[in-house]
């Protein structure tokens, strides 16, 4: 079997205006969920993985794995850097290490991305059930 392409990247998480407005409308609103279960990638990186916009990708770090939807970054180039907005999806893969000062590492985390067209992006409730078994 042909090996799936994988890409080593640096994961950043942060604020987007869609996430900011979505969170004010409600965390279970469609706007919010759609704005944070995505991963912005450089179009060149997407070519390397052989994927188009809207295809699901699996992002893995030493701390977890999550499936999100790939989106073309509006402001490329940023080869080797992917961006997931703050939210429950990003938090599955961010680094909890606080380095003794109380602050986890939300930015600049080594990660790998691979295409996962067969795997679904979990909805908010499914994700919470899968992670916390409560709710």
């Amino acid at each position: 079997m042909e090996e799936k392409p994988k890409l080593k990247v640096t994961l950043l998480t942060g604020r987007t205006i869609e996430q900011g407005a979505g969170k004010e409308r409600g965390k279970s609103s469609k706007d919010y969920v759609e704005s944070v279960s995505v991963c912005f990638m450089d179009p060149e990186d997407m070519k390397k993985l052989g994927i188009k916009e809207g295809v699901n990708v699996q992002v893995s770090t030493a701390f977890g794995t999550v499936v999100v939807k790939a989106k073309k970054s509006l402001r490329a180039p940023h080869l080797g850097v992917i961006f997931i907005p703050y939210g429950p999806w990003a938090n599955v893969v961010v680094d909890p290490e606080t380095h003794g000062i109380g602050m986890p590492s939300f930015k600049g985390i080594p990660a790998t991305v691979e295409p996962a067209p067969d795997k679904p992006v979990l909805g908010l409730e499914e994700l919470l059930k899968a992670v916390f078994r409560k709710g």
């Binding site: 604020r15 429950p88 938090n91 961010v94 109380g102 590492s105 930015k107």
Partner: protein
């Protein structure tokens, strides 16, 4: 229809206080002057995600209950626990935070606010190095150079640039908005010409344009008036409006800050690039910093969350201290939640410390890394939690959130957010700044009153009142225990 003017927006740390709301039949129907987040909040606060009844978890399901019962159960959980965590506080009023700290002292827990996962490292550094700062009004009227480092105000503080910095019309400094519009027009014109050439010569091989350096400054840089520098790992919308954009490699901010420190002391760097940026370009940016009359550096979570954390802030504060040897420069963190500055302020009044305060020994102790909420959760030490006006299950790393959810969880929040869905006791509250009045601190430590614009839904109380009731109930339980 009545229009309420000069309303303060309870969303981000900019606390814009010029919002105009049109109210019809007790509901807000129109928002004027607000950004996308402001509008979403004022128009969507009473949507389908609003919690209208207190709830308690029974057999794994959240079921409706009375407020009295919910308060009693919340008090029981807190009074019975040995080491509860009381977390959130940045999206409520200073008055409610004050009661929260009293409650933390009463139950002997750890009280922490959201600055622990945003500008906690900045506070640690400010305690070490000190901070030259001023109010945003000073910057609006006088600053001729603005730097945003590791921050994307266009998304996180959408009106910051327009109200306080580059695009604001100050008394002594004029808005740079017009030159930005001209720049955009020029870029659009250039693109149009290029596409026309493409259409005309489509069959002939196109002349290859010379590669444009990412670091070539726009011609407008020689302009008079305000200049804007953006330093970030990504080309954001904020970066696009900047006169200089410095794209730093992820986790290399510390090197870049120290390189700037060397450059403004006229030292030579013996490398070609620092953090992926050509030194020549850095020299140009350093020159712009030195040649201003009044500069302001705003920094965001790009510095506090990436490698180095508080040491990045040390370097940024030191850079500004160095710049003050040659010109006037101030520095300010871009605070996220509308009252996170107020949370730090009230915590400091009442306990002596701005966040991560531990009352388990009966007196306040402060040792971020030990008494900070993420560490307490990662070490699995807490045995209950009270979350007020915050959503840690959605914002904490998974491992920390897991321990929070495993233990009894009391949530006070107007919305059914992710943490509320995991709650064992959920008490709905009124929105501070919409349905309840109070005080909040802007990012420059200016206290601003929040208005009550409409009435809350029936039976819904403000955070402050709910916390007072829980506190009274906890005291009752403790008195009973003492007698027995």
């Amino acid at each position: 229809m009545p229009v309420v003017k000069a309303v303060t927006c309870p969303v981000c740390g900019s606390l814009c206080d010029d919002i105009e709301l049109t109210v019809e039949n007790g509901r807000i129907v129109k928002v004027k002057n607000g950004c996308a987040m402001c509008e979403a909040k004022f128009l969507g606060y009473c949507g389908e995600h609003r919690v209208l009844k207190p709830m308690i978890r029974k057999n794994g399901e959240l079921v409706k209950t009375t407020l009295k019962e919910a308060v009693r159960r919340a008090a029981e959980i807190l009074a019975e626990s040995n080491y509860p965590v009381l977390y959130g506080w940045s999206s409520t009023s200073c008055e409610a935070i004050s009661v929260g700290i009293e409650l933390a002292e009463e139950v002997g827990g750890v009280i922490d606010n959201t600055s622990v996962v945003c500008h906690g490292p900045s506070i640690l550094s400010i305690q070490d190095v000190g901070i030259p700062s001023c109010t945003l009004g000073q910057i609006r009227h006088r600053a001729d150079l603005i730097v945003y480092w590791g921050s994307n105000p266009w998304s996180a503080h959408p009106r910051h640039i327009e109200r306080y910095t580059a695009f604001s019309e100050g008394r002594f400094e004029k808005s740079a908005w017009r030159s930005y519009v001209n720049k955009v027009k020029a870029l659009v014109g250039k693109k149009k010409i290029q596409s026309a050439i493409k259409r005309l010569f489509v069959k002939k091989p196109l002349p290859v344009p010379p590669p444009v350096s990412e670091y070539k400054p726009y011609p407008s840089i020689a302009k008079e008036g305000r200049k804007l520098i953006v330093i970030d790992v990504r080309r954001t919308k904020s970066a696009e409006i900047a006169d200089y954009f410095v794209k730093v490699e992820p986790n290399k901010d510390y090197e870049l800050l120290q390189a700037f420190r060397a450059l403004i002391r006229d030292q030579e760097l013996e490398v070609d690039k620092v953090a992926g940026v050509p030194v020549e370009y850095l020299e140009e940016v350093a020159d712009a910093m030195l040649s201003c009359d009044f500069g302001a550096l705003f920094f965001g979570l790009g510095l506090t969350m990436s490698s180095g954390k508080l040491r990045n802030i040390d370097a940024a504060l030191s850079l500004v201290r160095d710049l003050n040897m040659r010109t006037k420069f101030i520095i300010m963190p871009m605070r996220g939640h509308f009252n996170v500055t107020g949370a730090n302020t009230v915590f400091t009044w009442q306990t002596g410390y701005p966040y991560a305060v531990d009352f388990s020994l009966g007196y306040p102790r402060y040792n971020p890394g030990e008494t900070s909420v993420v560490d307490v959760l990662l070490r699995k030490e807490s045995d209950a939690a009270l979350i007020v006006a915050s959503d840690p299950v959605s914002n904490f790393p998974r491992k920390a959130a897991e321990h929070l959810v495993e233990n009894p969880l009391v949530v006070i929040d107007p919305h059914m957010n992710v943490t509320a869905q995991m709650a064992d006791v959920l008490i709905p509250s009124a929105f501070v700044g919409i349905e309840a009045s109070g005080t909040a601190y802007r990012m420059d430590h200016v206290p601003i009153p929040l208005k009550k614009v409409v009435d809350p839904p029936r039976g819904i109380l403000p955070d402050e009142e709910i916390l007072r009731r829980i506190l009274a109930e906890v005291r009752k339980i403790k008195r009973k225990e003492a007698k027995a």
